[in-house]
Amino acid sequence: MRVGDFKESYAADEAVFRTSTARFWLGVFLVALAVFPFVAGDYLLYMANLTGVAIVAAVGLNILTGAAGQISLGHAAFVGIGAYTSAILVTRLGLPFLLCLPLSGLAAAFFGVIVGAPSMRMKGLYLCIATLAAQVIFEFIFVHWVPVTGGIRGINVPAATVFGLQLDTEFKFYFVTIPIVILVVTAARNLFRTRVGRAFIAIRDRDISAELMGINLFQYKLYAFATSSFFAGVAGCLNVFLLKVVTPEHFPLHESVRYLAMIIVGGLGSVLGSIFGAIFMTMVPEALQSLLNLFQGLDPAVMEYLFPLQTVIFGLLIVVFLVFEPQGLAEIWRRVKDYFRLWPFEH
């Protein structure tokens, strides 16, 4: 068990990685991240990149829904806004990838503020329903505003270019995805070390008291929505340069539900939970596909069941985790860590 762990300054007490053990394992993890692309094949790298995109989006949603308590059913639409913005910027204006990233984020944040602002003066689930409306309306715009979005066929996008280097392989793209993910995760974690993050949680837990403590509810809900949408937009930009195409079918309502599943399974309000949930929910469809592949010998039509099975499993995961483990995988992780920290004692 951990002994001799005492802090001599408040700064040391407030650090995110507080023990040398934690810092050691963080170092190991970062090294593993750096080594991974050299040992993994293309498929795994593709999955890693896809997971990275999911992490960025999930972290954003967790800030809004997990921490600030405002359910969003439109997260996929904001990812889509980011994706389409990037696609338009790169194909029409020839802007470089690194500029598309923040601009997509800002575009998504802008629409997030417009969508959210009217409902934020109200308590309860009106914001949730407004995000549902946003999801439906933006889906419609993606499909029907053909001159701008390319309609059902979407927009094809060339590979990203960073400082003259073309990111046309999964390997190269990985080295862009990982730093962005690290930046986003750090920024989100930083929020909760300051009054802004605390204000979000206060709004979720007891908004009347939060207001009486001096927190302007409207302002901070808007912050949460803007930040969440910004991250969604960044995820969208990454997504479009990863897939080299953007079409409306990537951003339907059930994708918003998938993001919700990520943060519920991973752990609401926890940045680490967003990471766990994103990894988990990106792996589930793949695992399912592999499983069904096993049965394909018996019945070729079995692949038809892939999509509905996925839908059922997403829903089941949401319900099961909310009923039995509402704090998600992050909580399970914490219990495991505690076990090792306290062993051989129980408390």
């Binding site: 009106y126 949730c128 409306a133 839908t311 829903g315 949401i318 909310l322 009923v323």
Partner: protein, 294 residues
């Protein structure tokens, strides 16, 4: 002018059905304060159940109908007991997210059981369309409207006068007081979910009869959100009026704008209405504004 008249009448007719489905939502919200995101899926299950009973097992219409209502009640009871009971005391957003998960489960299950193909209903009503002047109303739309309105009236009467209806309103108002008065609040919750599921399922049967069934039928259920926001989340009368308004707006907007935009206006017109309502009158036409106590 004819076209407008036609659109208005069709709008009212389908609006009546929306009112019924919205009623399924409002009953649950009124009694339990839960926003049921799976209302559309309840609706879809109702349609599929009727298809199963009539087409797959060949039952005549009326017993099939009754079985559908029983099946829906069972579904509502199951959801309440197996899932929502465990969530008592949890924050509302968790419970709402459970209904979101539930909608996913039901939609996937429907696809697994009945597969994705589009299915046609057997004819339930006499074929002849109803003609009023220059306006033609399809028979299944007309009869569907009649049944929907009858159901709405029955539910409204139950809520207002029957003992269980009063008990539900009492529970919605103040659970603790209802407990003290000897009302079995748990049973009330179960009843509310069953009634809500029945209303939604009936609506689903009617819609399925009009347009055919597929697992995405549940998406029509999303339209009830504009309806209930317009009418006020906890108002039965509001659900009815909201249903009519949304039905009319949908049809009129679709009729006039579809040619310009290339289709799909019908699906988003209600949501544009929703956005406008949230901007100007968020508690809807008849909803109650919450007074919070500290």
């Amino acid at each position: 002018m004819d076209i407008l008249g036609q659109l208005l009448v069709s709008g009212i007719a389908v609006g009546g059905v929306y009112a019924l489905i919205a009623l399924g939502f409002v009953i649950i919200y009124k009694a339990t304060s839960i926003i049921n995101f799976a209302t559309g899926e309840f609706m879809m299950i109702g349609a599929y159940l009727l298809y199963t009973f009539m087409v797959m097992t060949g039952l005549p219409a009326i017993p099939a109908f009754l079985l559908v209502m029983a099946g829906a009640a069972l579904l509502g009871m199951l959801v309440e007991r197996a899932i929502l009971r465990h969530m008592l005391g949890q924050p509302t957003i968790s419970i709402v997210m459970v209904t979101i998960g539930l909608s996913s489960i039901l939609m996937g299950l429907a696809e697994l059981i009945w597969s994705t193909g589009f299915k046609n209903f057997p004819p339930l009503f006499p074929r002849a369309p109803i003609i009023v002047g220059d306006i033609i109303i399809r028979s299944n739309l007309f009869w569907g409207f009649v049944i929907a309105m009858a159901a709405v009236i029955v539910f409204a009467l139950i809520f207002k006068y029957a003992k269980v209806g009063v008990a539900m309103r009492a529970t919605a108002d103040d659970q603790m007081a209802a407990f003290s008065m000897g009302i079995n609040v748990r049973n009330i919750f179960t009843l509310a979910w069953s009634l809500g599921a029945i209303a939604a399922a009936l609506g689903g049967v009617i819609i399925g009869n009009i347009g055919g069934i597929q697992p995405t039928l549940g998406h029509i259920g999303l339209t009830i959100f504009p309806v209930v926001i317009l009418g006020g989340l906890d108002s039965i009368g509001g659900a009815v009026i909201g249903g009519f308004i949304v039905g009319i707006v949908e049809n009129v907007a679709g009729g006039y704008l579809d040619p310009i935009v290339g289709g799909g206006v019908k699906a988003i017109a209600p949501f544009v209405v929703l956005v406008l309502i949230l901007l100007f009158r968020p508690y809807g036409l008849f909803g109650k504004e919450d007074i919070e106590r500290l």
